[in-house]
């Protein structure tokens, strides 16, 4: 079976749009919530795919950025809903319930942390990179557990979903629409970046850093910029995920989530534009249907992973297009 990747990509996006619209008609709001969850997980994984698929950096700590986005939302909304001040030293703020502002904060915080962290972690490679990114994420995980001001281990509930100008975010399909639109924008950015001079050089860095140096480019700078962009995208997804659940907890920082993001990408197709989206859809569908049958549904996820690793190295997209994915 060999299909054109562009058609597959279009079909996936249309499918992801049609299912919740159908759910509106038959009045199945929970299906819309599932679709929204798939969209947000996909967004987080698109961020990871940027460094993993193009740049060859296997971050096992991307839950760090997901959690940062989540807590950015949680903390801002918490102060807004309790009418308390958030003292940031230089200035203080009463928090906010506006999604666009929350998103910008989530993006900025994630980008700054990614920049600082990148200075250190990008000096390593291979298994050391995997472990040091994991270590950073675990530091934030344990910090959030002990941060009792914002719920500690119990997490932080936000009673009413944050607002978006002109839309009613409490209506599931409208919130889905916001998330879907953002995913489309980020996918567009990703696809442009992938073929741009920067993407070509980043892709070369994954294959042979020596070559990149030899043409007078600094692989460190390329990787750092990619790492910051990647963290920012995953951070944005984290803020939206927290808004979906109206709840933030340390589990957003957990290594399970970092692992799941990698799994989504491998199932869908490493380095492929729609790889994370397909992976996220499969993940959410399995979690819902198999999770209803058994709490051990991850066994089936594991079997799918095995099948992909042994028989379809390019993931689902690789299987459909007959083209292998990027080697990491």
């Amino acid at each position: 079976m060999r299909l054109n990747e562009t058609y597959i990509n279009a079909a996936v996006l249309i499918g992801l749009l049609v299912v919740p619209l159908w759910a509106v008609m038959v009045d199945e709001p929970f299906t819309i919530t599932l679709a929204t969850k798939a969209v947000i997980l996909a967004l987080a994984a698109v961020g990871l795919n940027l460094i993993l698929g193009i740049g060859g950096m296997v971050s096992f700590g991307h839950a760090l950025f997901f959690g940062l986005g989540g807590y950015a939302m949680g903390i801002l909304a918490y102060h807004a809903q309790t009418f308390t001040m958030l003292d940031l030293g230089l200035f203080s703020t009463g928090g906010t319930k506006m999604m666009p502002i929350i998103w910008l904060v989530a993006i900025a915080v994630s980008a700054v942390i990614a920049f600082l962290m990148g200075q250190l972690v990008l000096r390593t490679g291979g298994v050391y990179f995997i472990m040091i990114t994991l270590a950073f994420a675990q530091m934030f995980y344990y910090f959030s557990i002990s941060w009792s001001q914002y719920g500690g281990e119990d997490g932080l509930s936000i009673y009413v979903r944050n607002e978006f100008p002109g839309l009613n975010t409490l209506d599931p399909i409208q919130f889905f629409g916001i998330c879907f639109a953002i995913l489309c924008v980020v996918l567009l950015l990703f696809s442009r970046l992938q073929t741009s001079p920067f993407g070509l050089a980043l892709n070369a860095t994954r294959q042979t850093a020596k070559r990149v140096e030899t043409v007078g480019l600094n692989p460190m700078h390329l990787k750092l910029v990619a790492f910051v962009l990647s963290g920012a995208i995953t951070g944005l997804a984290g803020a939206m995920f927290a808004d979906l659940n109206r709840f933030v907890s340390p589990t957003m920082f957990s290594w399970h989530l970092s692992g799941e993001l990698i799994i989504l990408i491998i199932i869908g197709g490493v380095g492929r534009l729609m790889g994370p989206v397909i992976g996220a859809c499969i993940f959410v569908v399995l979690e819902h249907f198999l999770g209803g049958l058994t709490t051990y549904w991850h066994i089936f996820l594991g079997l799918i992973m095995l099948a992909i690793v042994f028989f379809a190295r390019g993931g689902v997209i690789g299987l459909l297009t007959g083209k292998e994915g990027a080697h990491v």
Binding site: S196, L200, V215, L217
Partner: protein
Amino acid sequence: MSDQVPQPDGQPVLATHGLNKAFGALQATSDVSIDLRAGEIHAIIGPNGAGKSTLINQISGGLAPDSGRIEFLGRDISALPAQARAKAGLGRTFQISQLCMEDTVLENTVLGAIGETQGVWQFWRPALKTADLIARAEAALERVGLIAERDVTCANLSHGQRRQLEVAVALTLSPKAFIMDEPMAGLGAAGSKNLTGFLDGLRQEAPILLVEHDMDAVFALADRISVLVYGKIIATGTVDEVRSSKEVREAYLGEAA
């Protein structure tokens, strides 16, 4: 074609001064001072393990010398990282091809053009639709005779074609000096002859520091030869001088004969 960079008072384009590099007890480079003058091909020969690649790596910036200085275009580049030396105009090819195997010939060459124009911070316009980059890349491919393979994935190239591609990528950078680590390695007789002809003309554009095992090529091309044995330069001179040197015969050529 870029003109030779005029060096005042016949100063060399590239020179090392007293380079030393040891790996534990092994002195891989021992007080090496060599130079590369405008318009010449300077070959470095020596038996396996003589430290040729170690020397080349120190010059191109992949390896830091323990002591000594490297000057390029009158400027001390000893402290510069590899990418800065490349940016300054030092073009190199590798003994073992360093190419992006998943990418096409054109993409590999366009990477060189991106490096030359330093236009890497562009995230929107496709590289392969940027006329300037394509023109630079295609010109280089044309010169090495690889233009017909422009859309072939690098992994599907023959060994010889990969060697040609290495040279093409170096050409996109319009270097002021080339450092070539065994460009003939693994080439057949015909390929080797072709590349010899090409390098012969290339020296007019920029001088070449050439490490090569293929003695036919070295004797055909080199203006000067330096013989490296156990990390030391034991002789530097013209082809005839080196050929007739007793020391060289004993240390190196004698072995081969």
